[in-house]
């Protein structure tokens, strides 16, 4: 049974705090460890079947995990811990198009996506899953094939760390390419703002699904994109095309939000129909919601 993570634990998952931590590996570890501490009574702990180690019982641990035989021998409470078998190929698809470079406060969507990808990679590595990375904008920018070898995590994290913001985005292209290259069923995690033609995106994801992959989609959107809080008339410049449009926010806000809601509803509906997990992430929110969504999807894999 899951309980809500406590506030001081969540602090470690705040994207603004994470942004101040030095290396990406450290960030990923901070996120994941913080996240797992918050989840230490989570049912997700049990998806592994292979015994890993004993740990002294801490108040709050599930009493069903207490090894009573060991208690009889040592007169101390120990809980059993299990380890996941490595049997999953996980592909992280990270959008680095120009629109991902947008961030109204603190971190940009791309930075947030990077933390999220790194965290998931770290989490997978912990669980001996094979993890791969594919960064794209209009085309594939970087590709790290999935692997569970030691040191591979470091390669993935270094690659993530070195990604620069790209230009226009075309989500369907890497999806199709990955779908063609997918050798066995695996987990595909798409991290993107999905500000693309929705038909293309949905078609590409269906393609992947058709190839047997489990797909989780994290749609990252900035708080400003979700609420359009601007007040003063301004000329809005597109980060991808450099086009400009002059607008008076109070006048266009209603229309903008209606259009956005329509887009999000379309994704939600179409992806559910395609059996794809869809998670809308507000980049001003802590990363745990995204990680929870991931783990939820991961657990359904078993």
């Amino acid at each position: 049974m899951a309980t809500a993570p406590r506030a001081n634990e969540l602090r470690h998952l705040d994207p603004a705090v994470i942004g101040r931590i030095g290396s990406l590996e450290l960030r990923a570890r901070t996120i994941v460890e913080g996240f797992l501490i918050g989840l230490h009574r989570s049912p997700y702990q049990g998806f592994s079947v292979e015994f890993s180690e004993y740990r002294q019982y801490m108040p709050g641990d599930d009493t069903s995990l207490i090894d009573w035989k060991l208690y009889a021998r040592t007169d101390r409470h120990y809980v059993k811990k299990f380890e996941e078998e490595t049997n999953l190929d996980c592909h992280l698809l990270l959008d680095v198009s120009g629109s991902m470079g947008y961030g109204s406060a603190g971190v940009t969507k791309q930075e947030y996506g990077t933390y999220l990808a790194a965290s998931i990679a770290y989490l997978m590595n912990r669980q001996r899953d094979a993890v791969g990375l594919l960064a794209f904008d209009e085309q594939v920018v970087r590709h790290v094939p999935a692997s569970a070898r030691p040191g591979h995590l470091r390669r993935v994290l270094l690659t993530l760390d070195s990604l620069a913001s790209g230009r226009g985005s075309d989500v369907s292209k890497p999806l199709n390419r990955l779908a063609e290259a997918l050798s066995r069923r695996g987990l595909v995690v798409l991290i993107s703002d999905l500000l693309d033609e929705p038909e293309h995106v949905v078609r590409g994801l269906r393609h992947l699904r058709f190839r047997g992959a489990d797909v989780i989609v994290f749609q990252l959107l900035d708080r400003a994109e979700l609420t359009f809080p601007f007040e003063r008339p301004a000329r809005f410049r597109d980060l991808e095309t450099d086009d400009e449009v002059a607008a008076v926010p109070p006048l266009v806000r209603a229309h903008y939000l209606r259009e956005l809601r329509t887009l999000l509803a379309l994704y939600r509906r179409e992806l559910r129909l395609a059996g794809i997990d869809y998670c809308l992430v507000d980049t001003s929110q802590p990363l745990d919601l995204a990680l929870l969504a991931y783990l939820s999807a991961r657990s359904r894999r078993h």
């Binding site: 703002d193 809005f236 980060l239 607008a247 006048l251």
Partner: protein, 618 residues
Amino acid sequence: MSFLFPAFLAGALAVAIPIVLHFARREAAPRVPFSDIRFLQRVPLMQARRRRIREWLLLALRIAALLLLALAFARPFFDATGLAGRPVTIVAVDRSFSMSLPGRFEQARAAARAAIAEAPPGHLVGLVTFDEQARVAAAPAADRAAAVAALARAETGFGATRYGAALAAAARSIGSREGRIVVVTDLQRAGWEAAGAGSAPPGVSVRTVDVGAAGPNLAVTALEIGPAGAAAVVVNAGVQPRSSTVALRVDGTVLDSAAVTLEAGATTVGFDAPLPRAGVLEVAVDDPGGVPADDRRYHLLDPPAPLAIVFVTAGGRSGAGAFYLERALLAAGDDSPFVVRRLEPAGISPAALDGVAAVLLLETAGLGRSARGQLAAYVESGGGLLIAAGPRLDPALVAEFVGAGSTPTAPPPGGDGALRWSVTATRHPLFETFEGQAGTLGQVRFRQAMRVDGADGRVLAAFSDGGPALVERTAGRGRVLVFASDLNNEWNDFPRQPTFVPFVHEVVRYLGRQRQPARERLVAAAPPGVDPRPGVVIEPASGRALVINVDPRESDLARLTADEFLSRIRPSAVPGSAAGSEPVDAAGREAEQRYWWYLLLAVAVVLVAESWLGRSAA
């Protein structure tokens, strides 16, 4: 359209402010990077266009508000209801009291109506009524009904005829246009003699309509009160002797009456009945069929309030420097028309001089700069000041009060009284009482005098050596008299002469005249706020009673011929719309139309609309 204050139209330049702001704010729209502007681009064009239209509408409203405000402050008006340039006929109707003979004014109205009807087609027609003052009863207008209606409202008054005022008002109404002036009058000669010749602008013809000679008329033209009683001057304007009754009333009660036969011309009717000390005296002559307004004349019997006189002497209350002067002024005992007070030079202040009719400055020790300034201000405001030279008077003070350039110097001591003095301005009001016997003043022997050279004033009397003895100078509304010798028996023997008391009384009365309230006025000079008709009134400003009488000159019914009338009119050099007359006219028209009020209302409406539109756009 014209403007009363066209300079305010410059305020319309302020419309540049919203225009500049409008475009400046458009330019100031900042660039904001955004992830995806597709949704923004898809804002329906109509909405953006509506927004633009609304912005322009807001701008237009703001500009309109500023323009209307500038227009309101410029006080626009339409001159002569927009009919500038059309010729004008002004009918001027005499409403003086000589027109109040029974049936006379009705006759004048009919003649005026005819004159209005006969005005040439295309003329604007206006109506002026006049006695001593002329009033535009109907401004020139194409609609003659206004003039006819104003004529129906016109009544005779109690003023005297003044043709000059009528012609001036008519010329102002005509302005620079061509026109005609039709004067409907009884052609009284006195109407010209009192006001001098009138003038008519070029292009304006003058015509008279005679309402006929007056019949026999009796008038009380003067009333004199002496120790023996009252005497009235009654004028019979006809050529035949007339019998009539003249009654003397006090406060409405008949004291005396006399049946008299009045020859043509003036007759003095005396009344022996003793008069009370107070009340309103009225003399009335029975004159059926004559002009009613001049049949009676009023006089106020109440003694005038005593004049407050202040002596400025170094000793103040105990000083002896004003002994003779004070005794002379108070010679009448309890009935003295003067109230006397002594003041030290240091005590001079606006409060101390309040209500004082005359200040007699005899000694100057201790008279500081501020006290001198206050004395000067007192004179400027209508006070009277007598400076009498003497051993204790600073000669520099004389220079100060009788103008720059005068160099009063004290004479060397000594002398054997060889100096005499004589009046040089014998017709001056100061010497009226002496009635040609001003020479008796020459009895005075002056042992010493002050030289007042180059004085900036009028020399009323001179010493036998040619030096000025009495100098008058007006300053502001007041007067200063400088007597170049002393009035306390030190430099001369004047106080011991029989002429001293009347001289001093006349000097003080003359100086205090400005401060003495009038007790009788003519209708034309009735104080403001008082109905200008003969009788007793209470002056609103002071609360004092005064009597109002008609101008006796109007009772002289001698007539002019029409040609004589016209010969008195000289053409004026400039057109009627001379700069002097136009603003009066413009202010009057603007005040009638008051378009500024509607403009301000429009500004308020525009501002409300602007704020509503602005809020809905936000």
